[in-house]
């Protein structure tokens, strides 16, 4: 339980740590002991060397995700341009074949600013929260958010530039996002305006795709510039309050990425590609609390780690259902 709370606290900015002995299971301790046997260590090193010689590169989940982001945002665009009334509106609020949908973060801002509970908005928010609770909260980020896709391309560029020394990654404190989340809620309440919407790249990009380009896109371009040259995934990692709202939504989601300690070689390929690497700290030698473990609330279920892991130590699972199947 303590370990679960620690993982939750990591979403709000807590530093990753090793589990206390009391937080680990006997099985995991035994497995660690086994993995540290001299012959096991040489075997592991040998297998890692083999991997590096014949790298297995998978882009399965990445391409599925890109397709998902593009198709969902295209549905919005097509619905308007060809008047098919499938998903009307933008990502802040919409109607999916007539049913209200509302982004929980935008809805929260509006209700705090307006100081009234609007029934349609509540219906829309509850629908969306239930939906994203099932698939895992921040799955919104990596499977729907159009800014995520742009930021992912910016990230690829950043990694390439960093490799040849033209860019450097300057990390920020992850607690910044929690503070901004609170500040923007407070600002909405105090000023009576949806202050965050003014700098919300998700809303700006979504509206620009549907209703045509705006000058506000310059802000999005500036953000992407920061992400390319100064700080890898700056907005998604350290700022975006929408991400935290969805993270809370999916804190105990059924859909999870599951970590299998027995298969893991602890080489860290997964942490290199992850948007939120702190959730994968458990893949370090001696950091797992159990032989099987769910990644945690901040995970966007993007599947990059699953693609990256040469040992299939990480995979998608549905909580409870994996035992039935």
């Amino acid at each position: 339980m303590n370990w679960f709370l620690h993982k939750l606290a990591m979403m709000f900015g807590a530093e990753p740590r090793r589990p206390e002995p009391a937080e680990t299971t006997d099985a995991s301790r035994e497995m660690m002991k086994f993995k540290k046997l001299p012959d096991q260590v040489t075997l592991r090193k040998q297998r890692i060397a083999e991997e590096h010689e014949f790298p297995v590169v998978s882009r399965k989940w990445k391409y599925r995700r890109w397709a998902s982001i593009i198709i969902i945002n295209l549905l919005f665009v097509v619905s308007y341009w060809f008047d098919v009334q499938l998903v009307e509106g933008a990502l802040t609020a919409s109607r999916f074949v007539g049913f209200h949908m509302a982004d929980p973060n935008s809805a929260l801002q509006v209700m705090l600013a307006f100081k009234e509970v609007m029934i349609n908005l509540v219906i829309g928010t509850v629908t969306v929260v239930l939906l994203w609770w099932i698939v895992g909260g921040r799955a919104f980020c990596s499977w729907v958010c159009p800014y995520h896709l742009l930021a992912e391309w910016a990230e690829m560029l950043h990694v390439k530039l960093a490799a040849i020394g033209y860019a450097r990654d300057n990390p920020f404190h992850r607690g910044l996002r929690t503070i901004l989340w609170l500040v923007f809620l407070a600002l909405a309440f105090l000023t009576g305006y949806t202050v965050f919407e003014y700098v919300n790249p998700v809303g700006i990009v979504s509206r620009a795709l549907i209703y045509g380009p705006t000058v506000a896109l310059l802000w999005v371009i500036a953000l992407l510039g920061i992400e390319v040259f100064y700080s890898r995934r700056f907005w998604c990692r350290y700022v975006c309050p929408i991400g935290l709202t969805y993270g809370i939504t999916g804190a105990v989601a059924p859909v999870q990425v599951k970590y299998d300690l027995s298969k893991c070689l602890h080489e860290g390929e997964c942490r290199k590609v992850c948007l939120v690497p702190h959730v994968l700290e458990i893949t370090k030698m001696g950091y797992a609390s159990d032989t099987f473990e769910f990644i945690g609330a901040d995970c966007t279920r993007c599947g990059m780690c699953i693609d990256a892991c040469p040992q299939n130590a990480l995979d998608f699972t549905v909580r409870g259902l994996d035992k039935v199947l």
């Binding site: 209200h100 009234e116 949806t194 700006i204 509206r207």
Partner: protein, 262 residues
């Protein structure tokens, strides 16, 4: 004064302080950077307050809009109202309008709201009630009020007629002409006129009794007439869009102007 002797001691003690390790320095830098980024993001978001506080714009909001302040609070900036409008009169504001970014407005001169939808569709589409669901008929709408801003330019006041197109053949605006097609709006550029005396603001007004032409003298031979706006005016902008004078002789003042005066 008595504290002075202590100072040299402190100066001696200072170099003895352990220097920060590289790691601690980096962490301190990271925390400062984070603070800076936080202040920058919040500061930038508050820039949006400036155009709103300084009232740099007075937009005609779609039918049923709450008072400007409440409207900007309640609007979730999704554009569902834009999507249902049959004449595409509603547009979304850009960044220069601050907190109004993404909020809908109508530019009457470019495309007025002519109630082609018959039952204020934008109000029904609004998920937040920023366009209040309390109105159900076009007569209840109050977006603004028409005003004869340039009487000198008004053709009716000059006693002139109108032959040809109201706004030229390049004008893209749509209007519903009940005599031509009760249901579908057509391009204003596809509807030429031949009038003894220009009365477009009255002729094309979608609201009964909102505007009328009054004689300017008691002489029956005097053709000149003056448009007079009545209380029934809803501020839809149809008269402004139709007005053949350039710029329009009649304009719609947004509700927000009246709110500011009050």
């Amino acid at each position: 004064m008595t504290e002075l002797p202590e100072k040299p001691d402190e100066a001696v003690a200072k170099p003895a302080k352990p220097r920060l390790t590289r790691r601690e320095l980096e962490r301190r830098r990271m925390l400062l950077r984070s603070l800076g980024a936080g202040v920058a993001v919040v500061g930038l978001s508050l820039v949006g307050w400036y155009p709103v506080a300084r009232q740099l714009f007075d937009r005609l909001r779609p039918p049923g809009a709450l008072s400007e302040r409440e409207f900007l609070s309640a609007c979730i900036k999704c554009g569902q109202c834009v999507q249902v409008c049959p004449v595409e009169a509603i547009r979304l504001a850009d960044g220069e309008e601050g907190f109004g970014l993404g909020a809908p407005y109508i530019d009457g001169r470019a495309q007025a709201c002519d109630f082609s939808c018959d039952a204020v569709q934008c109000v029904l589409a609004c998920p937040t009630g920023a366009l209040t669901h309390e109105i159900a008929r076009k007569e209840e709408v109050r977006m603004g009020v028409a005003r004869l801003a340039r009487p000198d330019a008004c053709l009716a006041m000059k006693g002139q007629g109108l032959k040809g197109l109201a706004r030229g053949d390049l004008f893209k605006g749509l209007h519903r002409y009940p005599d031509i097609d009760r249901w579908n709006p057509i391009r204003v550029a596809d509807h030429p006129y031949d009038l003894e005396l220009c009365d477009l603001c009255v002729r094309e007004c979608p609201i009964k009794g909102a505007i009328s032409l009054k004689p300017m003298s008691e002489d029956p031979a005097d053709k000149r007439r003056m448009p007079v706006v009545a209380d029934a005016c809803v501020g839809c902008g149809a008269c402004e869009m139709m007005c053949p004078a350039e710029p329009a002789a009649i304009v719609v003042d947004a509700k927000v102007l009246k709110e500011r005066q009050a």
